[in-house]
């Protein structure tokens, strides 16, 4: 299995185009923000002390969620490519079991997702360090890595379920672009959660992306919120948190976003098992 993971990592990282395209969602959200959205949202935030820095951190949090979605998806595409080219048949002939091979794809996806999220964090925080003098706190690097692992797990499971319905590269690349485009919305990068209509907000509550972004944003923005909202009434902070997607709903706020994502992993695993079981029966 370790050998298969090594192989999948080599195939991903050796292919620069593939790395670039797997980051497309993140790159788009970053460029859209810097070129168009930043000024718009900023003008609403004029009254907030160091509002720009707060906004930068907010964007980093959302973009990392987008990265988790798209990179794990790209990593898992390897399985579809291998299936299509019968490479998986050759892997099956080895002493590694079917479970081991599947686990190999899952772990490669989690590793790729984690590395790419951390890489995106480092690149973006450096960009904003120079652009807006954002303080980069390396103390939060360990929790960031832990969240990156957790979100990679969540999105690996989501993408595993999606991939159950597709068996060739042509169709999966279509799915990739759809998910890539939607991920920015789901992660709440293009617009804050609070600006969505009620029905939209309700839908977001059933998708792990919003909790994922909330987890990142709470961690990254914590210090800056203390600075920016020093003498501001709690009521205002609560409404800011709600609007900007730092709090999704009461249930997740009480349970904690980490725990919410863990529950998502359990539910997704059950769905994956059920769908694959059903698929096997139908064949």
């Amino acid at each position: 299995m370790i050998s298969l993971i090594k192989r999948n990592l080599m195939l991903y990282f050796n292919n620069r185009q593939r790395v670039f395209f797997s980051l497309m969602g993140a790159i788009i959200s970053f460029i859209l923000y810097v070129l168009f959205l930043k000024n718009g949202i900023q003008s609403d935030w004029k009254s907030i002390h160091e509002g720009t820095k707060l906004l930068d951190l907010w964007l980093i949090g959302g973009t990392m969620t987008v990265t988790a979605i798209t990179t794990t998806q790209n990593a898992l595409n390897q399985k579809i490519i291998d299936k299509e080219n019968n490479r998986i048949d050759d892997l099956m002939l080895t002493d590694t079991s079917k479970l081991g091979i599947n686990a190999g794809y899952v772990f490669s996806s989690v590793i790729i997702g984690t590395i790419m999220q951390v890489a995106v964090y480092i690149i973006m925080s450096f960009y904003f360090l120079f652009a807006d003098k954002l303080d980069v706190s390396y103390g939060s690097l360990i929790p960031i890595v832990l969240i990156a692992i957790l979100s990679s797990l969540v999105w690996t499971m989501v993408n595993m379920i999606i991939d159950l319905f597709f068996d060739n590269q042509a169709s999966i690349s279509g799915v990739n672009s759809i998910v890539g485009t939607c991920s920015g919305f789901f992660a709440g990068v293009y617009m804050p959660l609070g600006t969505l209509p009620n029905i939209g907000q309700k839908i977001m509550e059933f998708i792990p992306a919003s909790y994922n972004s909330a987890l990142y944003r709470n961690l990254l923005m914590k210090n800056q919120i203390n600075v920016s909202f020093k003498n501001v009434p709690t009521k205002f902070i609560t409404s800011f948190n709600k609007n900007m997607g730092l709090n999704i709903n009461d249930v997740s706020t009480i349970m904690g976003h980490t725990f919410t994502l863990l529950i998502f992993i359990v539910i997704l695993t059950i769905i994956f098992a059920l769908v694959s079981l059903l698929k096997r029966k139908l064949v």
């Binding site: 192989r7 490479r87 048949d89 002939l93 080895t94 002493d95």
Partner: protein, 295 residues
């Protein structure tokens, strides 16, 4: 000694019967050819024999081991029709990844294979940069990594030059001698079948014939004698044979065997300018059995 056997092996896809009650018995050390035109069920049979496809009914055994046991898989080496190695990785990386996915692999054997197939000079080249012949040699090396007892070759020589084909067969023949490697081959190259110890001819999923090449030739392929002469009329008048083809200066006949051919030749020794004697070929057998030209 019987190594692999199937009993009533059947595969049905919806209403289409791809493989129909196939009984195969393959002995250790043999080179066995599965012959059949495209769509005859060869590849489906191979997929079932290597455990990638579940048979609809019937069973497969290697020395008492069932097809889904890991010990069964351990005995197999497979060269797939299409290449199954990673284009973007080097030969060495491909080999290492596959060999690390086996437990307790004999690394000296791996080196021997790489050496015998003359791959050492291209170890650091990416697989996608190799020529067709080099790729096939790498594919064969991969299939032999686990020192298999049975090697499945699914159309291994398609599109290969004669040098690559000879190299591959010289290595395989050496392994047949040294470790009694059994080879099951599907091929379109009928000349490769000539070297087989046993041939199974499959048509529409059914076994039409299973025998040695010599027996098949005796049964289905006729030898041809072509006599060239300036006195064809004279020969024809005195020949008690059916003429199967005639040109301006030659006639072709099917003598019963070589003795009859010698008799005919000595009888007309003074009349003929020259002659040709052709043994019946696999092509004749194949066409006689399936009634179709090879696609």
């Amino acid at each position: 000694m019987n190594l692999l056997s199937t009993n009533g092996l059947t595969k049905k896809f919806k209403s289409h019967l791809a493989v129909d009650h196939l009984n195969l018995n393959i002995n250790k050390g043999q080179l066995v050819a599965l012959l059949g035109h495209n769509g005859a069920g060869k590849s489906t049979t191979i997929s079932m024999l290597i455990g990638l496809m579940q048979p609809t009914s019937g069973n497969i055994e290697i020395e008492g081991l069932k097809v889904n046991e890991s010990k069964y898989r351990r005995k197999l080496g497979v060269v797939f029709q299409n290449s199954v190695l990673d284009d973007d990785l080097t030969v060495k990386q491909n080999m290492n990844i596959r060999s690390n996915m086996y437990k307790n692999l004999d690394s000296s054997f791996k080196n021997k294979i790489l050496n015998d197939l003359e791959l050492n000079s291209i170890l650091n080249q990416k697989y996608k940069t190799l020529s067709g012949g080099q790729r096939r040699r790498v594919d064969i090396a991969r299939s032999l990594l686990n020192k298999p007892e049975i090697l499945f070759l699914d159309e291994p020589s398609t599109g290969l030059d004669i040098q690559s084909r000879n190299k591959i067969w010289s290595v395989l023949n050496e392994l047949r001698k040294s470790m009694k490697l059994t080879i099951i081959l599907t091929t379109h190259y009928l000349e490769e079948v000539e070297n087989a110890d046993f041939v199974y001819v499959i048509d529409k999923g059914k076994l039409v014939e299973g025998d040695t090449v010599n027996n098949l030739k005796n049964k289905y392929a006729k030898d041809t004698l072509i006599l060239y002469s300036n006195h064809l009329k004279n020969i024809k008048d005195n020949l008690n044979q059916k003429i199967i083809e005639e040109t301006k200066n030659s006639i072709s006949i099917n003598p019963k065997d070589h003795n009859e051919a010698i008799n005919i030749l000595s009888k007309f020794k003074t009349l003929i300018t020259t002659f040709e004697y052709q043994r019946g070929s696999m092509d004749d057998i194949f066409i006689a059995l399936t009634g179709k030209e090879v696609e």
